[in-house]
């Protein structure tokens, strides 16, 4: 155990003294959070949505009004009325509006999905996501029913607080922690390339000491990353969901626990990369080959919509972590309610780490 601590201290000293490495590990997430935070703070973006109302009944006007001024929700939509469908389409083509709604005559509380045509500019990923979420949520709220293709039926309607900052904090956190794959793989490959690992193997050091030292030091680094990401985002206006301060603190700690579990999984993946990479350069390349698809597919910056890609995304630990942390921070979900993601992530972490250790031991003995 003391050897593992000595090796942890050694790893941390090496990491903290290498300024370039340190910049990459710590300053990059801060910079990203600053950029993302500054870009999305100062209230939500307002999107222009055009509509044509062909309905003469009593429900369509309140529906439009609710889209623009929903009680208890932030105003992210500006509703612009058009006289006919052609004018609406022209405005959409010109980019004056991000989405369009055509309400047919006969619209009422029960046939909302049959009488409303909705289209959105899908090239604006975050915009289309925000507009679609709002339209569906209001439609659901207004009609009093849950559109079955989108939501599970709930006893009480829930308020989903769409906040770009919350979304981006989770993305940045997930990115920061997943870079542990790269740092683990490259540091282990470097030890092998430079011969320091061989030298340690001629001493009575056990493999378990070496691996425990690697795991602990990388966990410490990822904890520092997580604290920094939360710290910077807090300064920029990020607040976790929760009614009381205690709720918010507990939610933050729960998100922390998920981030640590993700870090263990990422160390395991880094170990696997190090096993198969022949040298440090290969380890770096393979790590990014793993991290980049992870960022694109696991909902780090945006949710995958294509069903096959969505299925593939479950192969990445960040998918479980993103869903769990987002539920906790953006929707105030208690840890117990995201236990499926958490258990999935923990099993993933344990499996990957064990497989990494077994193969690494086999390859180096």
């Amino acid at each position: 155990m003391t050897k593992a601590i000595d090796l942890t201290v050694k790893n941390l000293k090496i990491t903290l003294r290498d300024k370039v490495y340190l910049f990459f590990l710590l300053a990059m997430p801060i910079m990203m959070m600053l950029m993302v935070g500054l870009a999305f703070r100062g209230g939500n973006i307002t999107y222009a949505v055009g509509y044509v109302n062909n309905d003469s009944g009593p429900y369509s006007e309140p529906f439009i009004d609710t889209l623009e001024n929903a009680t208890g929700l932030e105003d992210i939509l500006t509703m612009v009325q058009y006289d006919d469908t052609d004018s609406l389409k022209d405005a959409f083509r010109q980019g004056s509006i991000k989405a369009g709604l055509i309400i047919d005559d006969g619209y009422n509380r029960t046939n909302a999905n049959e009488t409303v045509t909705f289209f959105v500019d899908e090239t604006d990923i975050s915009g289309s996501w925000a507009i679609t979420s709002r339209v569906i949520a209001v439609s659901q709220f207004f009609s009093g029913e849950s559109p079955k293709e989108y939501f599970k039926p709930l006893d009480e309607p829930i308020t989903v607080e769409f906040n770009m900052m919350n979304f981006m904090v989770v993305g940045t956190l997930s990115y920061a922690v997943s870079t542990i794959i790269f740092s683990t793989a490259s540091s282990i490959a470097k030890e092998r390339d430079k011969g320091t690992f061989s030298r340690l193997r001629t001493t009575p050091m056990r493999m378990v000491d070496f691996l425990a030292g690697g795991l602990t030091s990388h966990l410490v680094v990822s904890l520092i990353q997580t604290v920094l990401v939360f710290g910077v985002s807090y300064m920029l206006g990020f607040r976790p969901m929760g009614v009381t301060v205690m709720d918010k603190t507990l939610n933050l700690l729960a998100a922390f626990a998920v981030a640590v579990t993700l870090a263990v999984a990422c160390v395991g993946l880094g170990l696997l990369v190090a096993v198969f990479a022949k040298n440090e350069d290969q380890a770096v390349g393979v790590s990014w080959f793993m991290i980049i698809p992870m960022m694109f597919l696991s909902g780090t910056w945006f949710e995958p919509t294509e069903p096959t890609m969505e299925k593939i995304s479950w192969a990445f630990p960040t998918t479980y972590a993103n869903k769990a942390i987002r539920a906790i921070l953006a929707r105030g979900a208690p840890l117990a309610s995201v236990s499926n993601y958490l258990v999935g992530l923990a099993v993933y972490a344990a499996l990957v780490f064990m497989i990494g250790v077994v193969i690494y031991r086999k390859k180096t003995m």
Binding site: T2, K3, D6, L7, K10, K13, I14, R17, D18, K194, G195, T196, S198, R199, L200, R201, T202, T203, P204, M205, M365
Partner: protein
């Protein structure tokens, strides 16, 4: 009484050899170790089709300084890596300190110190931190580790730079630090893989002195080198290795004796070498003749005084003799005698 005396002797040996790792349970093994620190038996390592170490057999006496001499790629480092349990043998085995490298690597690691061919130090740690890390792997008590580290740093001239990060060290300083790391825990058996490779003459001399001191302290040292003068100067016994096989093993003096005492005459030449070699071999005072690159290397008794006769004989065979150089027999000549090639090839 006998038992008490043998126990006393054992304790004494333990103190001298390795106060940290040897316990009373190992009495039997220690008695083996006193005889031979290392015994390799048909030790073999293959990498695919390449046989890097080919059924080698050798024994190294406890307290001896044993050199493995051979050109680059001969199998020296692979042999050391096998003995240090960094590689598993494909065939055969070896005992280090009485422990089998196949089955008892954990015990062997407690007994050995290892200085690899390339400097293997953590560049972002200070020199002192590097040494301390190795000491901690052997669970050395703090006070003892500090004392030993300071002693060794002082001895090898690194005290002033001990608290600087190794990234600021020169190649020679890193090499010296490597040596300290190999011996901070005072191991009874030391493996030094090309310990002076790439060092300038002054540092090389300092490292030689350090190694000679180890011999005085009765440490068993296994050293690989491709510097013939290094093996000649330092080693009690030298094994010559080529293409993974040990082709000769003896003291440097005996090796030179076997390859033919006498002067070495090297002649640059052009013309029919075979005819010249045949004629020269007929001369009684000539011991061996080899063609090495563009030279004829002749070992001859009183070769310098008989230089005229040697040149005359070669010329008669149709050879045109160019520049001539003569010297005393060295281990390089032993290698040439054994393989027909130079060590640096």
């Amino acid at each position: 009484m006998n038992r008490m005396f043998s126990k006393f002797c054992y304790r004494l040996i333990c103190c001298v050899i390795n106060p940290i790792s040897i316990t009373s349970q190992n009495l039997q093994r220690v008695s083996i170790m006193i005889k031979y620190a290392i015994e390799a038996s048909s030790l073999t390592r293959r990498f695919g089709d390449l046989v890097a170490v080919d059924h080698v057999n050798f024994k190294v006496k406890e307290g001896g300084l044993w050199g493995l001499l051979g050109p680059n790629g001969a199998g020296k480092t692979t042999t050391v890596n096998l003995l240090c349990c960094l590689l598993a043998p494909t065939d055969g085995t070896a005992k280090v300190g009485g422990y089998d490298i196949r089955k008892e690597s954990g015990e062997i690691r407690k007994l050995i110190g290892f200085c690899p061919q390339e400097p293997t130090v953590y560049e972002r740690l200070t020199g002192r931190e590097n040494v301390n890390l190795i000491g901690k792997m052997y669970k050395m008590p703090k006070v003892e580790l500090k004392k030993k580290t300071n002693q060794l740093l002082e001895k090898i001239g690194l005290t002033e730079r001990a608290d600087d990060q190794v990234i600021t060290y020169s190649g020679g300083m890193k090499r010296r630090l490597d040596l300290i790391m190999a011996m901070v825990h005072d191991p009874p058996i030391l493996f030094l893989d090309e310990p002076t490779l790439g060092l300038d003459p002054a540092v090389r001399r300092a490292v030689w002195d350090f190694i000679l001191e180890l011999r005085e302290r009765k440490k068993t040292v296994i050293m690989t080198t491709h510097y013939m003068e290094e093996a000649d100067e330092l080693c009690d016994r030298v094994a010559v290795i080529d293409y993974g096989k040990i082709i000769a093993e003896d003291s440097p003096e005996n090796l030179k004796e076997k390859s033919g005492r006498g002067d070495i005459v090297e002649m640059e030449f052009s013309g029919p070498a075979d005819a010249a070699i045949k004629r020269l071999r007929n001369l009684k005072f000539i011991k061996t003749v080899n063609k090495v690159e563009d030279r004829l290397v002749v070992v001859a008794e009183a070769g310098v005084s008989r230089l005229g006769e040697i040149i005359k004989t070669a010329t008669k065979a149709g050879v045109k003799v160019g520049r001539i150089r003569h010297q005393e027999n060295t281990l390089e000549d032993v290698f040439i005698h054994l393989t027909g090639r130079r060590l640096r090839e």
